[in-house]
Amino acid sequence: MAEMLSPLHTKAVPGRYGAAGNAGVTLSTRPIANLWQIAGWQGFGDAAAPVLAALGLTDGGSYRRSEQSGEVTAWRIAPDKILIEGAGDLSAHTSDDLVTLDLGHARAAITLSGPAARDLLMQLSAVDCTPSAFGLGEFMQTGIHHVGVLIQCTGPDNFDVLVPGTWAETVWEVLHDNALPHGLNIDEAA
């Protein structure tokens, strides 16, 4: 059985790096399975509704807040596009009003946590990542090191960073090097 290789398979080397003391940042990776994009045009809401309902979702969230149902997460990345993780193959939902696209190999997921995680994000991304501006369940599409990324807030100081696979190492390295002053812990890949 062929093993699906993460773009970060050489990077996530567990260990303690950078400043001594308590680690301010913990980095790791997690696998992405079944990442699909559904997209439509005028009337997208109606076209997407049956798909979302079948997945236990309501409206696919807003442009800032993802929607979650069990293992399924939906991000409304554009007015007429929703990215869905964990829902399996959605190609069967393709119609004249809705197109589906498999992006399961197109992204890598970097997990970022720790008391300095928000500081690190604000070093690298020109968006407000303070708790009042970026809370649990919210996401943003922004750039890290000129690479377009989607950042999901998964906990008080926990984030998933979805990165295009071919850019994943460069984003990891920038996160890694900028985390060193905070004290960096790298966990085993999930």
Partner: protein, 997 residues
Amino acid sequence: MKRLPTGGRIDRTAPLKVRFDSQDLPAFQGDTLSSAMLAGGVSLVGRSFKYHRPRGIYSAGVEEPGAIVHLRDGNRHEPNARATVTEAFDGLTATSQNAWPSLGFDIGAVNNWLSPFFSAGFYYKTFIGPFKHSTKFWMTCETFIRKAAGMGRATYLDDPDHYEKCNAFCDVLVIGGGVAGLSAALAAGRAGAQVMLVEQDVDLGGAVLSDPVSSDGDSWVASALSELEALNNVRILTRTTAFGAYDGDAYGLIERVSDHIKAPENHQVRQRYWLVHAKRAVMATGAIERPLVFGGNDLPGVMLAGATRTYLNRYAVLAAENVVVATNNDSAYQVATDLARAGAQVLLADMRPDPSEEVVKLAQQADVTVMPAHGVIQARGGKKVTYAMLVPVDVTGRAQGSPQKFEADLIAVSGGWTPVVHLWSQRYGKPVYQEDSACFVPDAQEGQTLQGAGTAAAAESLADVIAQGFARGAEAATAVGHPDSVGIIPDAFATGPFWQQGLHPAWAVLTPQGKTQGKAFVDFQHDVKISDIDQAHLEGYVSVEHLKRYTTLGMATDQGKLANVNALSRMAELRGKDIPEVGTTTFRPPFTPISVGAIVGHEHGRHFRPTRLSPIHHWHVENGAKMTEAGAWIRPWYYPQGTEDLTAAYIREATHVREHVGMVDVSTLGKIAVQGPDAAEFLNRIYVNGWKTLAVGRLRYGVMLREDGFVMDDGATARLGEHDYFMSTTTANAAKVLAFAEHLLQTAWKDLRVHVTTVTDQWAAIAVAGSKARALLTQVSDADLSRETLPNNHWTTARIGDVDIRIHRMSYSGELAYELYIPAGFGRHVWETLYAAGSEFDLRPYGTESMGALRIEKGHVAGPELEGRTTMKDLGLEGFASSKKPFVGSVLRKREVLEDPARPTLVGLEVEGDTGAKPGSLLFSLAGEAKGHGDGWVSSTTYSPALGKNIAMGLLKNGKDRKGEVIRIVNFVGDQTLKAKVVSHHFFDPEGERQNG
């Protein structure tokens, strides 16, 4: 100069080793380099920019023009540091700059005697003026002038430290941690706004830090600070300078994280660049004392009055014991009083005839001798002040009698105060002149999101400072939605005569004839004298902006913080106007010098720009490939065997592909999913050729143009399903094509139900090329790849092991070839599977260099030909254009200039001899002179293993009609001329028998 046994804000239990040139300085924690210098008796610190005149410590702050030094050694060496804001630390080493062979004996000082030749604009007159037709002489002289003039020397060693950037967001940014800033932060913080308070000093307090320890001001600051620290919505940053105010309410800050220690510790950064997005800002940046202008006013030992008080009260350093204080306002009386009480003999010369009884009494109670209606007309001494020449003056500063000589080792001057309005000016333009304070202040208008407070806005008393700060803080908080109560305004505390109280705006002491007695400087850092301004005026410079550039006034590290107002005063006098009519220059960032490293942050070295890696990247590296940059991508260039160099390797690899089979990683190709019911119509519009007849299972080569008719890109697009297409683009243009398509769909073609999405990251791609390609792939996959089942320009699904892939039959090399599209996570697995299975077929990987050689042999165009200046007709692609439909660029490609038959068109070139041509070389006919742009240019070159000769592609005027002609290839840069025969660019297998086989 001496360190007092008590007092100051230094920690006497923490002595530090600090060295300047060869002298150890008695320093303590809390000192600056300049206070340690004064404590150590150092008066001569540097040499001036142009005349190499002796320079000492003139101030105690960021405005310092004279005490500019080198800091540290080796790769942490830093030039042009201001000693006055350099915190002393254990192990600090500093050296003087702009002096040779030594600071005390500086050969360059001869310039001082030659100063009549070095007046304003002497560069232009002396070195350019007489040689109007050439700058050659100037260029020669410039080398020597630059050596003689100038500032410190930078190091060429890599900076070992790290810097970082940070973004921050707040409701209210308060710039300046003095009394006004603290008041503003208190009001905004109490109201509940998110507040950032930034202060360039290590401690908060501003001017209070120059008061004696344990004064009322200390209690006031401690109380305010205590309250602010208890507010979790207030963030305080010290050692942080706000250097720039920009549109969109963005502010640039530099935090000096580790400058106060020998080297950053525990992985910390040296400096941090903050980009603060603040809804409102309060500029509580204080004011800088102004010099007085008189002969010899640049001698070491002439110092701003306020600075002498700072050294006394903050650092417990008495800068001299025999002091003349020269002033035109009340604030210097407090200075004189404090110096006298510390043990100095103080004589105060006040240019005003009738200073207030209150201040005179204050001074006299401290045994200060007060001389009203007197000014210093000249400072005398060699390398430091030894005498002050005092003279009775009228209200304009003109001498009214004979000078008297007074012994002095320090002349403390106060010519008034200049509000620090730089940040406001950066946002809103020129400040306005306020007559009664004789200074420029912000032209505050409603709606401005940056407002001044305190002495930066010419507050009239300490109570006014507090009131202004508190009011601006409260207003800012209210404006951003925090109208809550701000509580009671803090009380004012007792202080001495307030800044420039009673100011009389006389700025210079001159002879009755209006002359200076000796060289009198307006700008100390660039050696600009009154006489230079006079000369500029005589030469017709009436604009303050021109004056600045002609005389270099207001440039360098101090950026005119000390010089501007005095220069404007002189200019106004000369023009018979007042200062507002003369105007002022506009301030630009940065407020103080900042490190380039901090702006760069992490974006250097391997993070200079982002890099992009194929899913198979690590296999290439592990197997010895030499990698190369292709845009952001890092690609395998060639796979050397043994000691092979690039040339040997690519010739071998290309030969191998022609003779056996090779595979190359083409994951970098742009890949775009085109989906929707109108996808075919979309393709019809964006490509020049037709797409509506393309069946599922087929693919087609397409060309797309820009709207102006030039070729933008090419590539193959496969039809995967009814409404589902897979477009490939060149590696270089992938992002451009996607953005172009998205732009059209969101603007001009909103009627089309199409989505375009990049899938470059989703798919790894491998091209397998060579006569054995079919046999290899048939063995490793389950696909029927026979010529009949999968002819050229068709695709099929297939399985390699348990991985589902797509195989496109198409060729870039001219060989029988297939492109495999593999889900990226399995890209390496499939590559390795092919590699393992390929041994019996003698499969070899090949890199971008041999890939390029193969495509040139075949005559395919690529980036060097699709460079934005070529049309389809130029490239022989006209046949792809459909005449049955419009497409992007279909109209403008028919412009007369693009239809000109003489335009350079694509040709092949067979180069004579063993040397290949260089891309970019120009093409000339054999006859005539090789001059100008020639008949065309070489675009791509290679050695062709298949043909056994050097070949090239190029664009040549009337190329179609010149087949067989021998022309010259001239590389002017490399001084190389070659001969080549013009041929078809389809060098190899023009009938396509191999790729269609």
